[in-house]
Each structure stands twice: as C-alpha cells, then as structure tokens.
Assembly symmetry: C2
Homo-oligomer: 747 residues x 2
C-alpha cells in the first residue's frame, strides 16, 4: 500500500474545459505554496532570493502586461489609421504613411490646406489622373467599397479559420472567465494574434464598430500568455484571474487613455474577485500601459486618445435640463439597442443565418460602405467623428461644424462668443442627422458578427451626434432668444454661453451608459478625457438618468444580455436575489427523485465506485460514514477519483476490483489474503461547505458569490440530504426570473 | 398558547452596545422589508409611491450627507482660518475678518504688500501701539502662546466633559464600526457638535495636527444622524454601514477636494462591506460634498483645497532616483512614527499619564507654541506651510523660498529657468530643517491626545519639507553642475529642469503613504490635487517604495495599530491568514474543557434554560435534536431567548418554570393538566453556518470576513462539536502573530 500524501498524482487538482473552478481550493493551494516558500526561505540564501523574486514576480508581470498591451494598442492604432486612409488613397512619398503623416512630410502645403498635399493621391488620381468630376467620384466610391469588402473578408476568414474565439468584443466571455469558468484557448496566443490582426482589418473596413472592447480582450490575452512565464500564476487558476483583472484595467486604460477609469471599469464591470492587492497592481499595469502608449505616441499629439478635449466655458445650472434629456435619450437607446441586438443575435443562433458568417459580414460591410461614402461624417472613421463632435470650435478650426457667421470676430482675447450658425453648420446638421440614423440601424446588425467588434465607439458616436445636434440647437436658441427668461439671467448677448462640444460629450456618456450600464467608471473615464472636475456633474446627471431609464426598460446591460444569450454560467454579483425560496427547493435530488448518490467512507470496493462513476455524470460525490446515518465526512471530485483509481491500478501492486476504498484516516488491519486496500483520504475534501435545508436561497446565493463555490451540500438536522451546484443556483435564478432554466449550458 | 410568528417581540433582533452585528441576518431583514414593499406596491397607488420613494431615499440621503458635510467642512475651514489668525492679531475693519480677508477689503495696499494693511493689527500694535522692537516681539509671542493655550484648554475640556468620543482622528473606530461593531454614541449628535467645535479649536491652537481625519468622522456623524430620518436605514445596521461608507468618502472628498480619491479611500482604507451600489452612491455623495464646499468657497480661490498646485515642467526619468529616496524616507518615517507613537500611547494607557489629559494637552501646546513662534514656518498653519512648499516659484512670488538670484530674468515667455539660490532660499532651508525636526518629534506626542487630531497634514508636512529640501538641493546641483553626465543629456544651462515643488509633493505622498499605507487612494488624491497624469508616475514610485519599506519594518498602518492598541474586534480584510491551523484548534470547548453548552429542541423546561442562561455568559446557544446524537437543528441568541422567555412569562397565560420549550415546528399533543408549552421556533436561526473540524483556519477566516459572521458552529461527521466566535478568530490570529490574545476586548 502506498501513501500518496507526499507525491501528488499528475492531473489531480486540475480542471476540464468548460468547468467552473473552486476558488476556495485554488486559494488554499496558493497559500500552501506561499507558506512553503516562506518556510524554505530561512534555510538558504538561494531560497531567500527565490522567495523575494516570488514576491516581486507579480509586479514584474504587471510591468510586462502594461508594456505589451500598450505596444499592441499603439500598433493597432497606427495600422488602423493607415488602412482606413488606404481606402481613400495612397501616399507617393511612402506607401507606409497615412494621409496626415504624408502631408506632414510635404513641404508644399500651408496650414490651411494641411490635408491637401501633392504627395497624397486619391485612387481616382492614381487610376484616371484626376480628382474632379463624376467619374472620379465613382472610381473613388468603387475603390472605397472594394477595400472595405476586402478588409472585412480577410477579417472574417481569418477569424473563422484560425481563431473562432477572436470574434466579438470578448467582454462577456472575460466576465465569465473571471468569475471562475474555464474556456481553454479563449485567451491563448492564437486568439491574441488573430484578434490583433482582424481588429485592425475590421476597424479599417469602416464597419460601425470600435476597437475599445476588443482591446480589453487583447490585453487579457497578453496577461494570460505572460502568466505562463511565472510558476505562481501558471499553475493557479485563482491567481491567474487576479492578473486578468489587472490586464482588463490595462486594456481600458489604453483604449481611453484613462488609467483610473480602467481600474474602476475592471472593478465595476468585469471583475469578480478583486482584492485590494489587485486594485493596486491593476493601477500599476494600467499606468504602465498608458505611458507605453504615450511614448509611442500613435496620434502624434502626445495625447493618449484621439478625442481628448479641453473646454473653456463653465456650464450653467439650467443646462442640466438638456443634459438630463440626453440621459433619457441614452437610456432609451441603450434599452432599444440591447433588445433588438439580442433578438437579432438569437435569430442568428437559431436560424440558417448563423451558418454563413462570411456572407453576413460581406453584406453588412457592403451596405455600410455604400451608404457611408457619400456622407463625409460616415466616411471618416468613427473615432475621428467623435473627436470632431467633442471639439470646441476654436479660431482656426476649418471644419464645417465650426462654420459660424462672423467666426473671426472675437470679443475678448481668445474667447469666442455664441454666434449665428452659418451655411456649413446647417449643412452639417443634416448630414449628422443622416449619420445618426445609419449608425443606429447598422450597429444593431454589426455587433455580434464573426469579427472583432467593440460597442463603445458606435454607442459614443450615436450619443455624440445627438448631443451635438441638441447643443447647436441650444446655442442658436440662446443666441436668437437671449431675452427669454431662461437665458437672460446668465447668457447676455455676445457671451460664450453654450459649448456644443460638451453636449456631445454628455450625450456620448449617456448612450454608453445606457448600453453598458457602467456608472462610476464611465464618469471617471470621461473625467480623464476632459481633466476637469467642472464637467463631472453634467456627465454624472446624464449617466445616472440614462442608467435609471435603461434599467426601467430592462435590467441587463449588453454584456450580461450576451452572457445569458450564450448560456454562460455567470453568477451576477450586482443583482440581489429577491425571492423567498429555500435551499430544499433547489437542491438535488428533488422530492420524488431517487436518493442522492453517495460513497461510504470504508465499505465500498473499487468496482462499486467504478460502477457509480460510469452510471452517473455528477462531477463529485459526497462521502458519508454509512448509508444509514448519512453523516457527512467529505466530498470527492469525480475527476480526482477517476485519476486516482486509474493510477492505483497501474502503479499500486494488487489493487483489484474487489479492493476496498478507504476514505478514513487509518484503515483497519486486514485479514491476510484479502486484496490490498486503496487509501484515498488525500483526494477527499474534508471541509465541504454545508447549509441546512431551511437556509433561504438569498443566503445560499450570497455564499456562492462571495466564496466562489462550485457546490454546496445540504443537511437537515445533521443528516446529508442533497447537493446544490452552481448550475442549480443559476437555473433557479433563471426560473425565478421566468426565463428558460435550460439556457444555462455548462457546469 | 400564542404564536409569535406574525408579531415580533420588541427588542428581538437588536444589539447591545459593544457587540458585533450579524451581517447575514441584517441583510436578510432588509431583503424581507424590500420584498414586502415591492409586493404591496402592486396593491395601491399610495403603496407604489411609497415603494418609489423608498428606492430613491438612498439617493436623497446621499444628497443630504453631501450638503451637510460640505457645509460643515466650509464652516470648519473658515473658523479655523479666522482663529489661527486671531493668535497674531485682529482686524479693526471687522473682528470677524481673518488676516487675508481683512486686507482684501482694505484700499490702502498694493499687491506687493498684500498682507500688510493698516486694518490688520498685531497684538503688540493693539496693546503697546507698536510693531517694532524686542518688547513688541515679546508681547506678540506671549499673546500667541496664550491664545494657543486657551484654544487647547477649551478643546480638551469640551471633549472631556461633553463627548469623550470626539477625540482622535476617529478613523480606527470608524473602521471598526464599519466592520460590524456597535459603539453607541460614537457617531451621535453630541459627538458631531463637540467634534466640529473642538476640531476648530485644536487646529487653531497651532498643535501639530490636521483636520482631514476628523473630517471623515464628522461626515460619518452626519451620515449616521441623517439615517434616522429614513426607516430603511434607521432600523438596519447593515444598510446604515453602507451609508457610513459613503459618508467617509464625502469626508475625504471635502478634506482634499478629491471626490474620486475619497471614494477610493473609503473602498481601500475604511470600508468593510462595499457593494457596487455603494460605490456609485459614495461617488455621488462625494461630488455633492465637494461642490457644496466649492460654492461656499472658503479659500476665496474657487479651489477646494488650500494646496492645489499646477506645475509646468515635465520631470525626467533620472529624477526617479531622488523620488525613490523620498519614498524610502517616507517609509522609514512612517514605521518610526507608528512605533514611537504606539509606544507613547501605550504608556498613556497604562501609566498615570492617562489620568491628566488636560495637563498633557496644555503642556504639549505650550511646548509647541513656544518653539513654533520664532520660526515663521512653524508659526504659520501647517496647511499654509504645505501650500507654500508645493508651490512652483512664479514671477510674482514674494516668499523667501522663491528668493533666487536673477529672479526676474525669464528666458522664454513665462518660463523660469533654474537659477542660483539667493540668501532667502538658504535662510529658508535652515528654518525648514528646524521645522522638520520639531514636526517629527512633536507629532509623535500629539497624535492620540484627548482632542480631535488628524495625521494627514503633519505627515504631509514632514514629507513636503524633506522633499523641498531635496528638491532645492537637486536644483542647485543641476544648476552648478549641468555638465555632469547625469544632467547634461537633459538639463542644459538656463533651462527649467527641476521643480522643487514637485519634490515636496512627492515627499508628502511618501510620508503619508508610510504612515497610513494607503496606495491607490493616495495617488489618486494627489492626482486630483495636480490634475495631470504627468505626475502620477513619480507619486506612484514614491508611494510604492514607501509602502514596501514601511511594510518591511512593521506590517500595520497607523490606524490598524491603534485598532489593536485599543483591542477593537476588527478582522483585517487585507492580511492573509498564513498559518496551518484547523478549526478544531480554535473552537470552544478546548480538548479538556467541559462539553459545549447546548439546548435540546424538545426536552428542556423554562427553568433548565434559565439556569443555563444565568450560569453562562455565552451570547448564543446551539440547539440540537438530542444530547446523545448532537445533531444540529439551529442556533438561538441569548438576548432573544431572555426577551422571549420574559415576554412569555408576562403575557402568555400559564407559562411557568416547568413549561417545556419547543424549538420544533409542531409541538406534540400534550396530556391534560401539564403546563402550557412555550414555542420558540421563531427566534431560532435555522440556517446557522457550520464548518467541519478539519477545515483549515485560513478558510474559516475567509468565511468570517466575506460573510461577516458572528459565530460559526463546528461539526465532525455530522455531529456538533464546538463553536468558533469572531472573538475566538481574532484571539487566534493575535496568538499566531505572537501577540497577547487577551488584548481583544469586546464581543
């Protein structure tokens, strides 16, 4: 008989794909490991160094994640910028320059004409040597659509062939993974590579999608891959999830140039287990990532994001009314978007549509490109559009949106008063209204296709357009009617009262809030974009209204809705379980089912156990003193049991089918000539969680959430009665919410 | 026989003073309440309105807390400013003006002489009609000390007579209260009133203390008092703690003008249970508080704090070396301060010293005032000192610290190059060095006296002085040796390379970090003071180094050290429990003790139970099926048991000492002429938490922390074996850390 206590059998303690980890066990294992290193560190200098390096490996890992995700973000920014411009033309000064850089290097341009330089050639110039006339327009139009289709085709094909996990925004899956689920390969190197490439292609194709959500996925892939370099994180699923939380923060940090917002996003939106140590490390990773991105300087303006803004005019209390209106719009749009998008995605899942992802992507791309080209606001990349909408018209702005009358008359030094809108502004208003309709409709069909696609940028665009429209409207109202009671107390003629750019920003926050239901992190991200406490109140008013309105129309944010659509076993930490059911209503076996399958601690043979294993599919079995008393001893996992028995049969002399399995501490002395016994106490979990059958489900749900349990045993007056698994809990929650409990897929 | 299920007995479910609340039960009760309101809301319009107002009452409460704590903070700022100046003189233009305001209203001053105006009279001017000569100096000196002693005497007497809880910073106690402990009156209206008044007095007395920590206490008092206006929060200890967490955030928000930093401080440092809903509400409260303070505008500069700064020069990578040195200094100082301060406080507790708080305060005040007056940097209020140290010398600064040679030569527009230090700077250096020594020594004796005293400002002052000294040193080094290899790559002659104000800020962060061990919240607070991402990296480097150095010398921050000194039952959430003990090593009864005191479910009489109650002091008893089987049914609290029996004896006909108490669902039919039974199932907790005897203590500690338990029962193979209370856990942790387990005081 062998004792396995010292020598762990390979495979014991690991998890199968699509299973839920046991947080308590993982954390225990990490503490054991840590304890061992600490104890050894007193023995030799080498062990001491090992112990110190182990303590600092977390920080090193964060540094690497920050560097890698910052660099990747910069790479994606630069390539996407270049490829977006490629749809319109090429630079003869060097094919690798985008439009802006091409003209920077040119000497033949004035500041006014800074985007028209001889080195930059549109496709019509290259092909038919002219840029004027209807034919040239058609050539450019054709090339635009062609490139868009090419990019989209490449993106969807690469995803389909090499890494199916690279599609979508990835945030619903990352939320699920962080809550303790295992999806092998979802954060692997293939996904990283393909997602990075296809993200650039997808963004460049001009589809209504953003790179911000996928950047979080990319950063998490970096985190997961870098974990493999450190023993501490490679082998422990709980520790690895701490790293992934930090990586998510780094992802948002580079997406928006908002390190603090990134950490709060990770805390509020994606993370499940977020101890304070992780908070601090996330912050470090987010900062490193932001600074890496800034030193690479992809936008050439030493800013982290394209749409950094500075406003100069304070807002007035009365303006809270339009801001709250924007909040209501954001909430309505968020709720509408989630409903229609989920309905469409469900259709894709259940009908023939889902079988032709390439065709779907090509059709949507073609429609988007054909409709987008004629309108300059849809033709430009969405982040450029947002940047222009956020912009506070300065003296030198040549954009149509700033085409006010008397635009060069300044009242005081540098201050621009409210002015009547010129032809350009009215023109822009129409085009923006059309853009708004296109974006609203097409985004519903775009999000969820088999390409990397984020939702932040399209949502922000919808809000920013609405906000700008309202802002310009308010501005003109205030200009022409400054004698109205609502204006005359604070807005005299010739003063700069209303900043349409701020309205755009508030609108963007409102729509983003309506879709994602983010709150603090949203406001902080926006705060970091403007850098002034001044504008937090409007943002907060809009975000709050938007969340309330959207929550009234449907409780779930887009990510939770997609989690439920895909049936991931995610136990929402935010929602309180409000029903008055008891543990006995949820546990298996149900009232009329056969009794719970249990093992006894000292009377079952290998064969008995093998029969139970082959006849059931449960992932674990309670061990009791005897079937009569039903007094609980411990819990053993199916996987560990199979591996141990297999191992014993192979290695341990004489273990046969009639060998008795002992889960007790000491096996009794055996009479001679009986087959050797198999001692399996080492794989027995001696501290299984138990609740009584009368425990309210709200407490059970709380325990599952807070401790990260996989299963919990139910007792009545000290007798084992049943078992509740995480899946049972999820099914019960779905049932109580009148949803289909069988939509919960995995273990 | 009566059934109490419908009619709760008054007092059941409340707590005694100095007891720990049961989070699970409190949260269950709130969910029940919520469920009831939701169900009723469908019945009538009135109930619907009630349900909506109930949902919004949390937000209304946050608004009120923000308004009240913002106003109180402004009041404290204004009064402290005025009274601090009163030590030096009075304004004849109006006694209620402080020095600055007095001279604002004066027409006879130039910008240069803005703090010398005829309306402001020093005491010597008032008493001997001159401000010159040695005698005038002595008169001013004398008046300064006299006022300081008067203020200090008033402060300590008010605290001693009216509200002993008003002393100290209050943060250790608030941490303990938020973790679920009850200290009645600690957050009451008397404490609020006395703390507000004495805080002003203590700050004005010129002692080395700050108002930031006590402001958190003041805000929490506001929160607690306002809770009484809302049923939802008045009656539920768990819900009330959510409000207190938000109030703490509002307190820090007004103390530093940093709403986001305040929320993170509450999350990182003081809160125990911090659900996401609280995060959002805390943010709201913190914002409202900050804006209230800003609209009252106590500093007259539309900033939230006295030491808001803007720097203009970027920092160079090489400067990380001095920043890290500052971090090391901060860590060393933090560790030293905590040790010496705790040693002194222990002496105060254990010797005669503690019996004469008034004398102690007067002696320390006298020493501080006598030593402080001759040195202008100790004479000014500490926050003004910090503000001056943070300041980046501009063209118009007349302070001695900006007395550089050639100070009016600017190289480029507005940019000030590094210059050789003038006499004033060298002079200031000496005075600052003396100030540093005084602050370091006197703060050790000041923190912990019987007056309101915060630690943030003195710590920041120590760090800021050190930082400024180092910064000026670096600046001069770079000026005179710009050809050195470490400088010549980035610091050419005549350039503005080094900002001594930034060094002061980094030093302040380092020392604050060393004392409090704050991390993210510290960096975010400092970030909000400067408003530029640019300077986060230096701050972070210093804060990180400081924490590591300080942690290496002693694990606890100052607040945790004071919690341990006072023996509060606080279960630290940050520290991992690293020992390999089991639940059976901790549970009561110990191996050789008498058996666990249990009640049986259907065989004990009222007299039996009363005997057990009077013979033991346990706060609860497990109920078992029978003494032989030891199978657990539930848990009943001593307080509930006493109240229920008393109530039954009073109201229920015929309940006598021989009545049998039933905890079962149905009592069996009784033969006639036996005394009526007492049914107590309604006070029985049917879902007590249990763990097995072999559960590692690390898991038990985790369960206690995460679920907020008060006690947990221990079973072995389904039999009840013992009990572990929160106090047992705390004692065990103290024991394993080689501390005196009997220092844990309360339940």
């Amino acid at each position: 008989m062998m004792d396995f206590l010292e020598e762990p059998i390979p495979g014991v303690g690991t998890y199968d794909d699509f299973n839920t980890i046991d947080w308590v066990r993982e954390k225990s294992r990490d503490r054991d490991r840590h304890r061992e290193i600490t104890n050894k560190s007193k023995e030799s200098t080498w062990a001491l160094i090992h112990s110190v390096s182990d303590a600092f490996s977390g920080w090193l890992l964060m540094l690497l994640i920050g560097l890698l995700s910052g660099s990747l973000a910069a790479l994606i920014d630069i390539s996407a910028h270049w490829m977006t411009d490629l749809k319109e033309g090429v630079c003869t000064g060097g094919i690798w320059f985008n439009h802006e850089h091409c003209c920077w290097n040119s000497k033949n341009v004035t500041f006014e004409d800074r985007d028209k330089c001889p080195e930059w050639n549109s496709w019509s110039q290259l092909i038919i040597s002219t840029d004027e006339g209807a034919f040239a327009y058609i050539v450019n139009y054709f090339m635009y659509v062609l490139w868009a289709l090419l990019f989209a085709f490449l993106a969807v094909s690469l995803v389909k062939v090499f890494a199916p996990y690279a599609c979508g925004s990835g945030i619903p899956e990352i939320k699920t993974i962080l809550s303790g689920f295992i999806i092998r390969g979802y954060l692997g190197k293939w996904t990283l590579m393909i997602k990075t490439i296809t993200l650039v292609l997808a963004v460049s194709s001009g589809l209504s999608l953003g790179k911000e959500g996928p950047l979080v996925h990319v950063a998490c892939c970096c985190g997961n891959i870098l974990c493999h370099c450190f023993n501490k994180y490679r082998k422990n699923e709980a520790k690895r999830r701490e790293v992934l939380s930090a990586a998510a923060a780094a992802g948002v940090s580079v997406a928006f140039g908002a390190p603090i917002g990134g950490v709060l996003f990770s805390l509020e939106e994606v993370s499940y287990y977020f101890p304070l140590k992780t908070l601090w490390r996330s912050f470090f990773a987010a900062l490193v990532a932001a600074f890496t991105l800034r030193s690479i300087n992809p936008f050439g303006n030493s800013r982290l994001v394209l749409f950094y803004v500075e406003f100069h005019t304070p807002w007035h209390l009365f303006e809270l009314v339009p801001f709250i209106l924007l909040g209501i719009f954001g909430g309505l749009w968020g709720a509408l978007f989630i409903r229609t998008n989920i309905a469409w995605c469900r259709k894709r899942k259940t009908t023939q549509l889902g079988k032709y992802p390439v065709v779907e992507v090509l059709v949507v791309t073609a429609i988007t490109a054909v409709l987008a080209f004629p309108n300059e606001y849809t033709r430009m990349s969405t982040s450029e559009l947002i940047s222009e909408l956020f912009n506070d018209c300065g003296l030198l702005d040549s954009s149509k949106l700033c085409d006010y009358e008397n635009r060069f008359n300044t009242s005081k030094a540098g201050e621009l008063p409210d002015r009547p809108a010129g032809v350009g502004v009215y023109n822009a208003m129409w085009q923006l209204a059309l853009t708004l309709i296109l974006k609203i409709v097409i985004t519903i069909f775009t999000f969820g296709m088999k390409i990397p696609s984020g939702l932040f940028i399209p949502s922000m665009a919808v809000g920013a357009i609405t906000g700008r429209l309202l802002g310009v409207g308010m501005e003109q109202l205030a200009y022409y009617h400054h004698d109205w009671a609502i204006f005359n107390s604070w807005c005299s003629q010739g003063a700069d009262c209303i900043t349409p750019g701020l309205y755009a920003m508030v609108g963007a926050a409102a729509c983003l809030g309506g879709v994602t239901r983010m709150t603090v992190s949203l406001v902080v991200i926006m705060f970091e974009l403007t850098g002034g406490l001044e504008y937090i109140v409007p943002l907060m008013a809009a975000a709050m209204t938007s969340k309330w309105v959207a929550d009234a129309l449907g409780r779930e944010g887009i990510y939770d809705a997609h989690i439920r659509l895909n049936g991931y076993p995610f136990l929402e930490a935010k929602e309180e379980f409000a029903h008055k059911t008891l543990a006995m209503d949820v546990m298996k076996p149900r009232r009329n089912d056969p009794l719970l399958t249990v093992l006894t601690q000292d009377s079952m043979t290998v064969e008995d156990v093998e029969t139970i294993i082959s006849e059931t599919t449960y992932s674990g079995f309670p061990v009791v003193v005897s079937r009569e008393s039903q007094r609980l001893v411990g819990f053993v996992l199916r996987r560990d049991l199979i591996i141990s028995i297999e191992n014993a049969r192979k290695k341990q002399d004489g273990v046969v089918s009639t060998s008795i399995i002992y889960f007790t501490e000491h096996s009794p002395p055996m009479p001679p000539y009986t087959p050797p016994t198999l001692k399996l106490r080492n794989i027995l979990d001696l501290s299984p969680f138990t609740v009584t059958d009368l425990t309210p489900m709200e407490i059970v749900v709380d325990i599952f959430r807070k401790l990260g349990l996989r299963q919990c045993l139910v007792t009545h007056n000290g007798r084992l009665l049943g078992i509740i698994t995480k899946k049972d809990v999820l099914k019960h929650i779905a049932q109580m919410a009148n949803q289909d409990p069988d939509s919960i897929l995995f273990n």
